[in-house]
């Protein structure tokens, strides 16, 4: 019984070794390359189909990634930064009750210990009501240190009218949309009402220093920027802050940076990376990644039929030749390997051209695709109206991996047909 079971296993092992050996022989690749070139028109048609399909997909994915990475970059630049520190509980319920007190070690002395931190800024956040003589609106208060804030965000560069916050503590910044709603402009007066740390309602009048426009509609419609000292006084929180924003020089090591900060700051404070603060953006990247696989898989499944068809046609044309090589003693494993290599060459030539077409397309769009016509819709998602395509190395290796798999799968059916060829009949085939 053992012998009976062992025989097919040994045969399979022998086949596998023969197959691997054949793959390593230069003559296998030489013959396959020449066979692929035997019918240039057919090879060109299949190669072009792969190249155009793949090239178009690379461009489409690059635009998608350009869009999502722009959203990420925009979120980081306008508000989130790379890492933020809060009082424990702030993430779940943002409010002034969860604060970072001056004695908790968050500040320049902390930053000095970590050379990868290139910029930082303290903020106070709260909720409030802004009123003008004509309207009022519920707003988020974002209280900043103007000098430090300019290091971590682009809010200072987003001023469209008036000027950024300066030495005058009685000045605030409003988003263009909020200003429209309140029907105020630069130098107009508004009243900011908040609930202080004791729960009492308090308010102050300020003048509008400037108006800003960012890619974030949420910020433009619902945030008021004011000097941090003013907010601390208004809210009655002393020198406490709500948030400490950090920008690192290595955005690939943010989790490690956050872990080190958490270790230094202890359990009373929360350290979060932008990925934790904006899980929606991370989900979107993951969704695009999945979409990429699905798109490539769909393209290559369609290609697999084309390649299999080409190989079957080529097999039928060479049936006598295959009969001869089998008669001469070519092992079936070697025949399978040679067909698989033909399929690989055909696919990889197409993929190489496809990568070229794709990269050329991305290069042609390097200045960005202007979607200003739809900008009103886009800024709701924090997107810039100009999308610059982004190609990552994985966008090039991914189709390569799928292409190799496709080539192997596409060659299976022709290979099975080939090894079933009876040499005695095939050598008489005309």
């Amino acid at each position: 019984m053992t012998a009976l079971r062992a025989e097919p296993v040994m045969a399979a092992q022998g086949f596998l070794w023969g197959f691997m050996y054949a793959l390593l022989r230069p003559v296998t690749w030489r013959m396959a390359w020449r066979n692929v070139g035997r019918n240039p028109r057919r090879t060109l048609i299949v190669g072009s189909a792969i190249a155009i399909g793949l090239g178009a997909t690379i461009v489409a994915m690059a635009v998608n990634y350009g869009m999502i990475f722009e959203m990420v970059a925009s979120a980081i630049r306008t508000e989130v930064g790379h890492v933020q520190v809060h009082g424990r509980g702030f993430d779940a319920k943002p409010g002034i009750e969860f604060r970072i007190e001056p004695d908790q070690g968050v500040g320049p002395e902390l930053v000095a210990q970590l050379p990868e931190i290139v910029a930082w800024a303290p903020r106070v956040r709260g909720e409030g009501l802004v009123s003008s003589p004509r309207a009022s609106a519920g707003v988020r208060l974002v209280a900043i240190d103007p000098v430090q804030e300019a290091q971590v965000s682009v809010i200072d560069e987003s001023i469209t009218e008036g000027h950024f916050l300066g030495d005058d503590p009685r000045r605030v910044l409003l988003g263009e949309r909020l200003a429209d709603r309140l029907q105020v402009g630069v130098d107009d007066k508004i009243v900011l009402s908040v609930q202080d740390v004791s729960g009492d309602l308090t308010g102050e009048a300020y003048r509008v220093a400037g108006l800003f426009r960012t890619p974030s509609r949420e910020l433009d419609e619902g945030a008021v920027f004011l000097p941090i000292g003013e907010a601390q006084r208004l809210l009655g929180i002393g020198e406490a802050i709500s948030e400490f924003v950090i920008v690192s020089n290595d955005d690939r090591q943010l989790a490690a940076l956050a872990a080190r900060l958490q270790e230094r700051l202890g359990p009373d404070l929360e350290v979060r990376t932008w990925e934790e603060l904006r899980p929606m953006l991370v989900s979107m990247i993951k969704i695009f990644d999945q979409m990429g696989w699905i798109m490539y898989a769909a393209i290559f499944i369609a290609m697999a039929f084309g390649i299999a068809n080409v190989l079957l046609m080529s097999l039928y044309e060479r049936i006598r030749e295959i009969g001869i090589v089998l008669s001469l003693g070519m092992p079936p494993a070697r025949l399978v390997a040679s067909l698989m290599v033909e399929s690989l060459i055909l696919t990889l030539v197409g993929v190489a051209c496809g990568l070229g077409v794709g990269l050329l397309g991305v290069w042609a769009l390097a200045d960005g695709i202007d979607l200003s016509a739809w900008a009103d819709g886009l800024d709701a998602y924090g997107m810039s109206p100009v999308i610059v395509p982004v190609v990552r190395s994985s966008d090039l290796t991914q189709p390569l991996a799928i292409a190799v798999l496709t080539a192997i799968l596409a060659s299976l059916w022709p290979a099975i047909r080939a090894v079933r060829i009876r040499p005695a009949e095939a050598v008489r085939h005309v």
Partner: protein, 227 residues
């Protein structure tokens, strides 16, 4: 060397049986230069295929150097063909994408002969068949006679025990056919390789030292000529 014992071969196509060989008994000894002669449909190619381990008999046994072929798996048969047999077919014998030298090297490459030795032997054999200057030509750049010479070189160079040739002169003019036969005779004598070929060409029959005549799948005559 080769022995067919009570060999029957019956083909079945859509329920219709065709008897190609009927109880053939034949022994081919080492060094022979033998022709299987007979009209079309007499069973000579079928018998050649059975001796060449390309097909299996419906009944009876085929032995090559004492080994019964029907006991071997397809992989083992392929290995046996590779190591012990050489083949020459009617026409379009060569692999079109390989040059003459690469074609001659092909079987040695399958056998695992090292590259340097392979090239040396291939070039020597091409020179021996008079095609030393055509080593880099592809089959389509050569005449039918030249292609058959390359096929002979390929069949011999791998040092087989037996060369089986299926109507090797069928597509050649008589002058080229005669030259090819002379070449095969020379190879038979110089390399002591057994040659067995199927033919209905009188010139081939005349040049063979033994002629086995088949008719309706049976051996009807076995004629041995003096060397």
């Amino acid at each position: 060397m080769l022995e067919a014992t009570d060999v029957w071969k019956v083909y079945e196509t859509r329920g219709v049986e065709t008897v190609a060989l009927q109880g053939v008994n034949l022994v081919i000894d080492e060094g022979e230069f033998t022709a299987l002669a007979g009209p079309s449909g007499s069973g000579k190619t079928t018998l050649l295929n059975l001796f060449g381990a390309l097909d299996v008999p419906t009944r009876g046994t085929i032995h090559l150097e004492g080994q019964e072929l029907s006991t071997l798996s397809s992989a083992q048969l392929a290995h046996l063909r590779l190591q012990k047999l050489g083949f020459i077919f009617q026409a379009y014998n060569l692999i079109p994408v390989l040059s003459a030298r690469e074609n001659v090297e092909f079987v040695m490459e399958l056998q695992g002969v090292p590259a340097a030795e392979r090239q040396e032997r291939a070039m020597a054999m091409l020179a021996e068949v008079g095609l030393g200057d055509m080593a880099d030509k592809r089959p389509m750049e050569m005449s039918g006679g030249q292609q058959q010479r390359v096929a002979v070189a390929r069949a011999i160079v791998s040092r087989p025990r037996v060369v089986l040739a299926d109507e090797p002169t069928a597509n050649l003019d008589s002058k080229t056919a005669e030259k090819l036969l002379d070449l095969m005779q020379e190879m038979n004598q110089r390399h002591h390789v057994t040659f067995l070929f199927s033919t209905h060409d009188p010139m081939v029959i005349e040049k063979s030292r033994r002629t086995v005549r088949l008719r309706d799948g049976q051996v009807v005559d076995d004629e041995l000529r003096a060397a």
